[in-house]
Symmetry: C2
């Protein structure tokens, strides 16, 4: 395998052998390690010295189902700490097949130019962005696929990334006509913008260029893994995840009283029934949209959808739970059409829907729009694309929006907005939000699935649960596996070990895998420590620790000492 | 002496004896110690648990010349750390005469009401702000002095503080018709706004209510102190400070190449001659304005002025160096009339001119106005008062403005804008900016006066110089002494010891005073440590360490190891 170094100062891309320290790493494990090795954590995240890293997981490009997620890493301009955000689509698989361990983007153009990086199996070239400069991510992908072929993968930023807004995402194309797989969190789109890089275009390789170390071991494990997913009652062809997508959990989160509603002011929403996955499915099917589509070819779960309007025209694909929570209930909107339209706009401008939804909730509390009023809310989102001062403010996320507008109830940790589970009534997620090196991030260790195992309203057991989930999260993000695909590898860790050994021949044991996972977190915590992040920063917002949340009148009452002890046994 | 506790939640003010731990403290020593004792450094600076403290210095109310400055302290919403900002005017003297060690404002009104605190020699009462709500600081002071008497002191916030903008100051009235003595830095005006406190009105006491421990010792020392100031060639009746005010240094800073010009992009300004103190004096005298006025009654230095327009009507009093640097050269304006008009607007809205000048420089770099174009710049400042989104953004200071507008050259440390000496060519100030617990602050330890002693462009000696100046700064800010009045007490530390012993009878030695001064810094560094501020935060901005500044092509090259070692010998 090889590494692609892209020097935006010299406008040169060059291949190099994978340095030994990175050889047994992939995905998040690699992006985080590379940051710690090569970027001083004190540097300006949007400055000359930060690096933006694209890395497929260890399983990338091997054809393992649901394992082609792409990790993107950099020092975050939003949190000031380490950041890895990953997304489905075809990029991870494609880079893996090309034998590219990582693309590392360094430096900044001296002339403030904006460029495209075109990567093929044996070449890499920087070209002026020309006619895609200033475009949204949809048009950017369309134009570049017209130019480079409809089977190439495009990773791009929209206007938000070009404006260096700290809520900006990076969008990737996916299976078929999928356009919107976002590495959404932490402002990585702004990092890409600061590098003067509008898009990566990656040609589809004919076949995988790297051979398997133990093909039989690999194939048997990969086959068993896929079969177990198919057999899983939740994930299989009749499972809720396939039928309703991520929105299958809407009703349950609302019933738990953890559904962020009107800027996190209450935990259940009277309009939640209209936002349920079941409702979404009915609407989509009745209108001739699509259910059960995939972001990655060959995924057996197929959780995605194409949400269409009454005339059957596409609004957005895919509509997901976090967006429904943050841009639906959190804005007082009880209509999926409205949420889908806001979602499309965010995707197009290249914005994290969680961060933007939270920022809009704060802006509404400041009186700039009305809860439940689509027109005034959409007007604010539109301004982000237009680049007005107000739009840029919203695009910088919840904390900056709250600071400027004088709002004190800001749902964020480490500067990053809290996703769709209020930590007061799902305290395990609160522990993850508070302690994850990534800032408030549900994918870092989501306790929702363990709600029957550990009482979400109790303090006891949350610390241990969060640590366990964060270790698993590190594994998923480093192998390229989708969060949904975790049950078989959690039930039998040997399954993942066999797949890795089958590909690379490293002879790992399950202890080696566990150490690998924990090392990811250790690396990230060390980066953050050097960046100046301390226990005082790893905290849930003050108001959530003091103001009770209806309907359970719950506060986030996990003591600081418990938060500070989460990684004691790492 | 006594302490006044003001509970904004219960809308109650109550007197209490001075707790023992605060007995031998005053000014900054007291505000910082009280914060460490009573406010958890992790709390939201604009939330329920922060406290806003008004404290005269140890010499306050005794009639020592130039010693009536008032310290105001709180956890800073701008830096996230400890903050003390002080100002001249009559408040410090008045509180001292009333025997009030400190006014401590706690909690927040439940109803979002806005109040005035009226303090007399034996009463303290909270009243609805009524007709001064929403007014600027000039009109607020005028109305309250009409109501409570022209000899009462008014401390107030303008619109900026009411909007909770992190660049908001607190204005105090002064001698005669002086209206604008600002405790400007660190966003203390926003803290006051967050407490629902629009103004303090302090009645003038008939006489000092606390007796002197050793009247003879005190009077002899105070007399000698005043005489030495009068005899000082720089400070006396023919000295530059009296003749030209703080602007006496403009030419020298410009010649050093340290004059912040066009968002700190160069260190000398072609229009500097028009901004010199000598020019200012000529203009003021020719137009019938005033030179040599005082903020505090009885000050023998009398550095202030009333800047008037061509018809002799007041524009602003007093026009000072830092404002001339940040709102003049830094904005490309070479006309004192323009600077004076911007200064008036900032004073009226209750804005730190340093923070606002730096924010405007950043906004101009982003294209929102033009360097040297008064009309477009004044339009931006006007919006702060109007409370538009853009205005609020500017009012939040340089860092937030830069973040939202995508500008990377932001002159700030710990989130606070750098004042009128570019640290690249006055490296001693750079060390102070970087390491002071206050963030970038020239009054924390200004090396300008030592430029003939330690080469401003060299690395050597800056660390030791900064520490020495920071210790002196702590003494000045804790005794209520004006920065200008330091030469006699530096030349003979026993002079200050005698004045303190004369008032309080503590029997201090000069070693006790030195320990007292150092304890101030230790207390503040400890508060910041608990607030999560680390070595990574105590740094000069990246671009100033890499981009050379004309005319000396200097970068800020004091190594991190030197910065980290500043307090090793504290």
């Amino acid at each position: 395998m090889k590494l692609l170094r892209v020097d935006m100062g010299q406008l040169e891309a060059r291949w190099e052998p994978v340095p030994e320290v990175y050889e047994r790493l992939g995905g998040r494990a690699l992006t985080s390690r590379l940051l710690l090795e090569e970027v001083s954590p004190e540097h300006d995240a949007l400055g000359l010295h930060n690096k933006l890293i694209f890395a497929p997981g260890l399983l990338g490009g091997t054809g393992v189902t649901a394992a082609g997620r792409l990790s993107i890493g950099a020092k975050s301009p939003l949190t000031g700490g380490v950041k890895e955000a990953n997304a489905g689509g075809t990029a991870g698989d494609t880079l893996g097949k090309l034998g590219i361990k990582a693309v590392v983007v360094e430096g900044q153009p001296k002339n403030r130019g904006v460029y495209i990086l075109h990567v093929t199996s044996d070449s890499a070239e920087l070209l002026p962005a020309g006619n895609v400069r200033g475009l949204g991510t949809y048009a950017t992908a369309d134009r570049l696929q017209e130019q480079y072929g409809s089977d190439c993968t495009v990773l791009s930023i929209g206007q938000a990334g070009e404006y260096l807004l700290t809520g900006a995402s990076i969008a990737g194309t996916g299976d078929g006509d999928q356009r919107s797989n976002h590495a959404a969190r932490g402002g990585l789109g702004a990092c890409m913008g600061s590098k003067g890089l509008k898009a990566l275009v990656i040609d589809k390789p004919a076949a995988r260029s790297v051979s398997l170390a133990e093909p039989e071991l690999f194939r048997a494990a990969a086959r068993r893994f896929a079969q177990e997913l198919i057999n899983d009652p939740k994930l299989g062809p009749k499972g809720g995840t396939h039928l309703y997508g991520t929105a299958s959990i809407t009703a349950a989160v609302n019933e738990m009283g953890s559904f962020p509603t009107r800027n996190f002011s209450t935990g259940s929403f009277e309009g939640a029934v209209n936002l349920r996955g079941e409702t979404m499915r009915e609407i989509i099917l009745a209108r001739g949209g699509r259910i059960g589509t995939r972001c990655m070819p060959g995924c057996v779960i197929a959780c995605r959808n194409l949400y269409v309007d009454e005339s059957g025209h596409a609004i957005v694909g895919t509509l997901q739970y976090e967006t429904i929570a943050l841009m639906g209930a959190n804005l007082g909107l009880d209509n999926l059409d409205d949420v889908a339209r806001l979602n499309y706009m965010c995707n197009d401008f290249g914005l994290d829907t969680v961060e933007t939804g939270a920022a809009l909730g704060v802006a509404i509390e400041a009186g700039l729009a009305k809860f439940g009023d689509f027109t005034s809310i959409a007007g604010l989102v539109r301004q982000v694309g237009e680049g007005t001062v107000l739009g840029r403010l919203i695009g910088c996320g919840a904390v900056t929006t709250g600071r400027v507008l004088g709002v004190r109830r800001i749902p964020a940790v480490l500067g990053q907005a809290i996703p769709g589970y209020d930590p007061r009534s799902l305290k395990g997620n609160g522990v993850t939000y508070a302690t994850s090196p990534m800032g408030a991030d549900h994918t870092a260790g989501n306790a929702f699935g363990a709600r029957k195992e550990v009482n979400p309203l109790a303090v006891e057991g949350q610390r241990q649960l969060s640590l366990r989930l964060q270790i698993i999260g590190a594994m998923l993000d480093s192998t390229g596996l989708c969060l949904f695909a975790r049950p078989p590898v959690i039930a039998d860790p040997q399954l993942m070990v066999d797949m890795i050994n089958g590909i690379y021949g490293w002879g790992w044991t399950s202890e080696d895998l566990d150490r690998f996972n924990r090392d990811v977190l250790r690396t990230e915590l060390e980066f953050n420590r050097r960046a100046g992040i301390t226990a005082a920063d790893y905290r849930i917002p003050e108001y959530m620790r003091e103001e009770p949340l209806a309907p359970h009148d719950a506060t986030f009452d996990v003591p600081d000492s418990e938060l500070d002890a989460v990684f004691d046994t790492l």
